[in-house]
Amino acid sequence: MSVAIAVARTRDLFAATMLTGIYSLLSAGFFVVMDAVDVAFTEAAVGAGISTLLMLTTLKLTGQYESSSRPLQRIALVVISVTAGLLFYGFLDMPIFGDPAAPIHQHVAPRYIQHSAEEVGMPNIVTSVLASYRGYDTFGETVVIFTAGIGVLALLSYVRSREDVSQAALAPMQPHIILRIVSKILIPPILLFALYVQFHGDYGPGGGFQAGVIFAAAIILYAMIFGLDVTLKVVNPAVIQFLAALGVLIYASVGIVSLLSGHAFLDYSVLGHDAVHGQHWGILIVELGVGITVASVMLVIFFNFSSRVDKNQDSHS
């Protein structure tokens, strides 16, 4: 709470970014305390990691200090306080946290908890809820991420001027020998860990979103230390854009397959020789699609932003 106030108060956008990092660390701590392992996992990877990275890159583009003239301030204050008031008003009607008589514990949750084991056969109920019972929602989220990637591409595409970038992008951390060696040691285990998270989502916390983010984070680390142009040689941007679309395609085609064999869209039961087996396969493939899309969209966004940064630096100097 106090972190949020400090974020709002400071003019130094940079300090604000770092305090948001701390804020998401803290909230993940709360999630851990409340036993929501998967949520904490996502918050750790997405909130604390990637969003801080992207905000930093944006700051590099826009400059560090907030502009001081803000004419809309009063209207914004009114709008925000009305919204917050409404939210708190709605909050009053919510059942007390942990109240066993709350509606969520009456209908949906017991059904998931009791039938998940026999219908889906996954030890981790969160994964089965996310990918099977709520398959539509997760599909929607994946498409949203994909759309975000397309938006960034449309706004800041670097394809036009790739020649300039490859000349301008310098390997900025050349003198740091220790950093280079340590990150060389670290990147392969990170990639391996991402794969572990990807395929272990059935049994423990994890899944496509988190794994995609970790995978992207490893490559971003490489790009930051060894320079953008080297990374672009390893990871071809065209391939990444193709992969981003491929992930969504994988997810959707699972749905189409079940539709063609006479079941509902995204009903995985038809994929295996019995229903539970089919659910397993369905979730595995769908998570793979999500992971591919998330990782490649993150990389697309990062590459676009940071190639902008390098170009800006070049024109300034």
């Binding site: 740091h176 220790i178 950093l179 340590v182 040691i185 670290l186 285990p189």
Partner: protein
């Protein structure tokens, strides 16, 4: 858990906690950036090593858990000093001067 192992675990955990705490006090109270950095980096690495060793003793023969603990330990061992090194180097390059004592005249 038998008495000996319990005592050993306690010793690891408590000494780690002590180191972490002293490091935090140092970061709060020391006069300039470099001394604070000194306080935090040393105690962080050692303290987290001790605490993780204590956890390792707590995880009685669950191999996956122990392997993960060892991985976290190795990771912290590599990244902690590296990050601090990079930080100090950046600070030095940007012209942040260490606060020195009175000039010897």
């Amino acid at each position: 858990m038998e008495g000996f192992w319990f005592v050993l675990t306690s010793v690891f955990l408590i000494s780690g906690a002590f180191l972490i705490f002293t490091g935090a006090v140092g970061v709060l109270r020391f006069p300039d950036f470099y001394t604070r950095m000194h306080a935090s980096s040393l105690t962080d690495t050692m303290g987290s090593g001790l605490i993780l060793t204590g956890c390792l003793l707590l995880a009685d023969h669950e191999w996956l858990v122990m392997a993960k603990l060892v991985m976290i330990f190795l990771f912290l061992l590599l990244t902690g000093p590296t990050a601090n090194h990079a930080l100090v180097k950046a600070a030095l390059h940007s012209g942040l001067k260490p606060k020195l004592g009175a000039e010897p005249s």
